[in-house]
Amino acid sequence: MADKTKSSTPNEVVNRRQFFAKLGLGSLSIAAAGTAAFAYQYLSPNVLFEPSPVVNVGKPDRYPLDSVTLDVTTGIYIIHSQEGYFSLSAVCTHLGCLTAWKPEENRIACPCHGSKFERTGVKTEGPAPKPLPWKFISINEDGDLLVDRSIDIPPLVPKSYVRV
C-alpha cells in the first residue's frame, strides 16, 4: 500500500488515514467558521433602543434670521440664513465630541481638540478631517421643521435650504 501511494502517477492516491485526517480538519474548519459567524451575529444587536434619527425641531419662527441654534440632546444645529433654513450635525468630524456655537468668534468650535467651523460647516481650523455634514431638513404638514440625522445632503446648494 505504502509503495502504491508513492507511485509516480500524476493522480496522487490518498490513503484512508490521510482521507480521515483531511475530513476531520475540514469539518473542524467549517465548524470554526460557523462559530465565528455565530459569534459575530450574536454580538451584533438586531434591535436597538436608540432615539429616532428624525427630529422635530418645531416651528421655523423659533429661529430668528442669522441665528445659529444648537440642540444639545439631538446634536444638531438649526441655522436660519438669508438663503433659508438648514441643519448641521453638531458632532465634530474629528472624534465625535459635541461642538458649540461661539457667537463672539462667529465660529462653531469643538472643546475637545480645538477644531473650528464656519456656520456653513466649512472647517477653518484644527484636526477635524471633514466639514460638518448638512442634514436633510424638511417641513411637515403641521408646518414643523423636521431634520433626518441619518441623511447627509450636499452643502451650500439651493435645494439644500428650506424656505418658508
Partner: protein, 273 residues
C-alpha cells in the same frame, strides 16, 4: 538544649505538624530544609512552579530590576481584590451606574477607600507597566532568548491599557461618556471594518446602555481573565528563558564573579550573546 524534653518550642510543634499524614498528603516535599527540600517546595507547588527553583542572589538586589514587574503584579492583585467588592454595589445600567458610584463614595462603609484604592492602583499599574518596559528595554533584557517574553509583555501592556479604558466608562459621568465617545471613534478609523468594530464594541451606534454593559463585561470578566492567562505565561517564560536577566558587563555580575571565582558556563554562554 536548656529546655527539657517535656516542653516543645513553637518550631518543634510546626515540625510535628509537617510530619503528619494530612500535611504530607497536601505538601509532598515534607519536613526538612535541605536544598533539595527547598527546591521541591517550589517545584511541587502549583503556583510557585511557574518560577525558578533557584535564583541568583544578585538578581534579587533592588538595582537589578527595581522590582518593577513584581510591583506591577502587586497592583494587579490589589485591583482584583478591590474590584470584586466594588461589583457588589455597582449596577452596570444607565439610570444607576452614576448613582452607585456616588453611593460608593459617600454612603457605603469603606466604599470611598476601596474605590480610591482601585483607582490609584489602576493609575499605578499603567505607570509601573511602562516603567518595567523601560527598565527591560534599557538593560537589553528583551534580547535572545527572551524575545518572545517581550512579545507577551507587549500583549500585557495592551490588556492593561484596555482594562484602564473600559474601567473609565463605568462611573458614567461626563468625563467617561466623552472619553468613550472619542475612543470608540478612534476604533472606527480602522480601514474598511472600522465602523463594524465600533458597532460591535458599543453594541449600537451611540454610547448607551449596551455600551456600558459591554464595557462592564470586558472590564470585569474578559480582560482580567485574559490578563491572568498571559501573566502566567509571562512568569513561566522567565524560568524557561534562563531566569531573571543578568548581563556580563554589569557591576553586580562582575562583583559576584570576582567573589566566587567560578561562573556557570551556561550562564556565560547566554551572557555572551
Amino acid at each position: 538544649m536548656a529546655k527539657t524534653g517535656m516542653t516543645k518550642t513553637a518550631g518543634q510543634y510546626f515540625d510535628d505538624l509537617r510530619g503528619t499524614r494530612v500535611w504530607r498528603s497536601i505538601f509532598r516535599s515534607g519536613a526538612g530544609s535541605s536544598t533539595l527540600h527547598r527546591a521541591l517546595t517550589i517545584q511541587q507547588n502549583v503556583f510557585l512552579h511557574l518560577f525558578s527553583t533557584k535564583v541568583r542572589t544578585r538578581m534579587l538586589s533592588f538595582s537589578a530590576t527595581w522590582y518593577l514587574g513584581t510591583l506591577t503584579l502587586g497592583t494587579f492583585f490589589i485591583l482584583v481584590a478591590t474590584g470584586i467588592p466594588l461589583m457588589f454595589y455597582y449596577h452596570p445600567s444607565v439610570p444607576q451606574a452614576y448613582a452607585d458610584t456616588k453611593d460608593l463614595q459617600f454612603v457605603v462603609s469603606s466604599g470611598l477607600f476601596l474605590r480610591n484604592l482601585h483607582r490609584w492602583s489602576a493609575h499605578a499599574m499603567v505607570f509601573l507597566v511602562f516603567a518595567h518596559m523601560f527598565k527591560v528595554f534599557y538593560r537589553g533584557a528583551y534580547r535572545a532568548p527572551r524575545e518572545f517574553n517581550w512579545v507577551i509583555g507587549v500583549i500585557l501592556l495592551l490588556i492593561t491599557l484596555l482594562l484602564s479604558y473600559t474601567g473609565y466608562l463605568l462611573p458614567w459621568d461626563q468625563l467617561a461618556y466623552w472619553a468613550i465617545t472619542v475612543g470608540s471613534n478612534i476604533a472606527s478609523a480602522v480601514p474598511i471594518m472600522g465602523n463594524k468594530i465600533r458597532f460591535l464594541l458599543l453594541g449600537g451606534n451611540t454610547v448607551n446602555a449596551n455600551a456600558l454593559l459591554r464595557f462592564y463585561v470586558l472590564h470585569c470578566m474578559i480582560l482580567p481573565l485574559t490578563a491572568m492567562f498571559f501573566i502566567a505565561i509571562h512568569f513561566w517564560r522567565i524560568r524557561k528563558d534562563g531566569g531573571l536577566y543578568s548581563h556580563a558587563s554589569e557591576p553586580a555580575t562582575l562583583r559576584a564573579k570576582a567573589a566566587s571565582g567560578t561562573a556557570d558556563p551556561k550562564a556565560d554562554a547566554k551572557e555572551a550573546q
